[in-house]
């Protein structure tokens, strides 16, 4: 794993909705990498530019704003979009055009993107302008599954996942409700 400063640009960007800067986007050998600054994980997004990755990350965070959920889960959620962009040229174009449009609608200003807009209301207004279109449908349709269908996320929401191997819930609290 290359050192972050070795090649290409480094940009540090936090999640505006979440607070502290966390994910680092890096260009390594032409591919965008999302890095945990603590070095715990890295996700390669070889068909998205750094800018596109940052916009998609912020967009998914705004679609599904869960304060308790760490950025890593949002980063993983956009991976299928990257992979589809690699397989399918029209998806790649759809994402590129949609991101450009979102940037314009968010009134980010010259050289800036949706991800740079600090005001959540402004970002939400931009999403509302695109939510009937195919870019939104692609991003939403993919990430509503890829975000919530991460087993490591489930305990945070209080969902216990697969049950048969544990003998079902017959002896694990299927009827333990005590507040009624």
């Amino acid at each position: 794993m290359k050192d972050a400063n070795e090649r290409g640009k480094v940009s540090r960007r936090g999640f505006l909705a979440g607070g502290a800067a966390t994910i680092v986007t890096v260009a390594v050998s032409g591919a965008t990498m999302l890095l945990d600054p603590g070095g715990a994980w890295a996700i390669e997004l070889d068909h998205l530019t750094q800018e596109q990755a940052r916009v998609l990350l912020q967009l998914v965070r705004d679609l599904f704003p869960h304060p308790r959920i760490a950025e890593t889960y949002y980063a993983r959620a956009i991976q299928p979009l990257n992979d589809e962009a690699g397989r399918n040229g029209s998806t790649k174009k759809l994402l590129a055009d949609g991101i450009s449009q979102l940037n314009r609608f968010s009134k980010a200003g010259p050289g800036k993107t949706y991800a740079d807009v600090a005001n959540e209301g402004a970002r939400v207004a931009a999403i509302k302008r695109i939510e009937q279109g195919p870019f939104f449908a692609k991003v939403y349709g993919t990430t509503v599954v890829s975000f919530y269908n991460q087993p490591a996320l489930w305990p945070i929401f209080g969902y216990e996942g697969p049950s048969s191997a544990k003998g079902g819930y017959l002896h694990r609290g299927f009827d333990d409700l005590d507040w009624l």
Partner: protein, 523 residues
């Protein structure tokens, strides 16, 4: 040991579909010594393929051949490429069903007589009545092992049920209980009892839930007179110059077409594919579609009036724990036009795991309000309104002239507009469902529009007169004596009950009739 019949063996009964209708019929006929070939479009899964994974199982067993949908129903807007959720595998939709096993009420067999003439609704009475159906309901419940009947206790009450019943009681309802279900509460028929797994809808890994996949199909095969041909998608039903069906053309898993000859053909492909097959089997003798002199093939499509109410509480519910649909409130199932609609509805538990809930709680929804609900997923309870919708001629399955599937066959369109009676019932159900949860301190209520239809009925309906329907009181085509309809497309009305038990009862009855007619040489 399973049979194997020659394609040119015209003595066999060919059944299209292996679900509640086709699977039961296959077993009944085979047990009576009749040779049967079941053509099942889907794969044969092993029990090891059934996993507690909502997304994976959806992808594995859902019928996803292309369909379109039109009409004012909200499904056309929210689920434009998936108007219907039924299954494509050996066992059909019985692998997926929630196992609520209810008999129709007496008046639901006679809606034209009991509701009167309703403008815009194509009401007719069933040719049969509850009295005639009772022995078959009885036998169906025995064969399936319905808990709450025949000495098998009802399943126990879960957390989710406790919430439903507390709200029902507060609201003054009386008819709330665990429903009779096609799920073992004790070991029965060589299958385990329910372990409260919570993934009923994804397939029961313990086989506690009845399904033709592991009950009727293996029993049929064990007679040596039934052959189940999986990955065999029926394309056309053929007939001779006398107008009798002679066989079924189907495609195998490589897309190669074969013709299985038949003495009798029974259509049990569920209520979209069964009429589609008849329409795609049009010929110069049957220009409107095979067996469609009435013009009713594909028409009168019903899917129950449905809607979901979710409620967020301050304390945990864990709705995903335990048998999914093990709670029902039946007070609104009565016939009571003073409420502003005819027909009645049930309120049934309908939990979801997190991945499904995220997709369904507010379809297409996003942002803080939705995230607030999702953050409290563990404290969510939900009920499903499921009630009688009225048949309308214009609600129908048609086939496209120009859109074809992977086998070159015209694909179906599902058209549906709500009838004012349906809308009034749904609004009432939303109001009562919300009131039920509000009565016990819900912090927030979310009303969800109908999901892709899991109950599909009416599209080859029974009628005494050949002008009014496609089949007679035995599901036998009026036009073609050796052609039967054996699935829910036979229903002239939808009733306010989940359809599977009635489909099974009808299949038991039809198997007797077919066997008698064959013995007499009449077909």
């Amino acid at each position: 040991m399973p049979a194997k019949f020659d394609l040119n063996d015209s003595s066999v009964v060919v059944i299209i579909g292996s679900g509640a209708g086709g699977g039961v019929l296959a077993n009944e006929l085979a047990q009576r010594g009749i040779s049967v070939v079941v053509l099942e479009a889907g794969k044969r899964l092993q029990m090891s393929d059934i996993k507690n994974d909502e997304v994976a199982m959806f992808g594995l067993f859902t019928w996803m051949d292309p369909r379109t949908t039109t009409g004012t129903w909200t499904v056309a807007k929210l689920w434009p490429t998936l108007p219907v959720w039924t299954c494509k595998l050996v066992g059909g939709t019985t692998v997926h069903w929630g196992a609520v096993a209810l008999r129709f009420q007496e008046h639901e067999f006679k809606p034209r007589t009991r509701y009167g003439s309703v403008a815009g609704a194509n009401l007719i009475d069933w040719p049969i009545d509850l009295k005639e159906m009772e022995p078959y309901y009885e036998r169906a419940e025995e064969k399936m092992g319905v808990s709450g009947r025949n000495g098998m206790p009802l399943l126990p009450i879960s957390n989710h049920g406790k919430v439903l019943f507390a709200g029902a009681k507060k609201l003054g309802y009386k008819e709330y209980r665990v429903p009779t279900m096609g799920i073992n509460s004790v070991p029965h028929d060589g299958r385990a009892s329910c372990q409260q797994t919570g993934f009923c809808i994804q397939g029961c890994t313990f086989q506690a839930k009845w399904s033709t996949m592991y009950v009727e199909i293996p029993k049929a095969e064990a007679t040596g007179r039934a052959e189940i041909r999986a990955e065999s998608q029926a394309l056309r039903i053929e007939h001779d110059a006398k107008g009798k069906v002679t066989g079924v053309v189907y495609a195998d898993k490589n897309g190669v077409q074969h013709r299985q000859k038949a003495r009798i053909v029974c259509l049990a492909a569920n209520a979209i594919e069964s009429p589609r097959l008849l329409l795609n089997s049009e010929s110069s003798m049957f220009p409107q579609g095979l067996a469609n002199s009435s013009g009713q093939v594909g028409r009168n499509y019903m899917k129950h009036t449905t809607g979901t109410v979710f409620a967020v509480f301050e304390k945990p519910v864990h709705m995903y724990r335990g048998t999914a649909q093990s709670g029902i409130v039946m007070d609104e199932a009565r016939l009571d036009p003073s409420r502003g609609f005819v027909g009645g509805y049930q309120m049934e538990l309908l939990p979801q795991g997190l991945p499904s809930f995220a997709q369904n709680v507010m379809p297409g929804g996003w942002g803080r309000e939705r995230a607030w609900v999702l953050d409290r997923y563990a404290n969510v309870a939900g009920l499903w309104v499921i009630g009688e919708d009225l048949p309308q001629e214009k609600n129908r399955i048609t086939v496209h002239a120009d859109k074809k599937d992977q086998f070159g066959m015209p694909i179906p369109n599902v058209h549906f507009d709500d009838h004012p009676n349906d809308t009034a019932m749904r609004e009432h159900g939303y109001k009562q469902g919300a009131a039920l949860y509000d009565a016990i301190g819900a912090k927030k209520i979310v009303k969800v529009p109908p999901y892709p239809s899991t109950h599909n009925m009416g599209t080859n309906r029974m009628a005494d007169h050949p002008r009014d329907g496609v089949v007679n009181r035995y599901g036998q085509s009026h036009d073609v004596k050796n052609l039967f309809v054996s699935d829910g497309s036979q229903f002239p009305s939808s009733g306010g009950e989940n359809p599977t038990l009635t489909i099974v009862a009808l299949a038991l009855r039809q198997s007797e009739y077919i066997a008698e007619q064959m013995k007499k040489g009449a077909i």
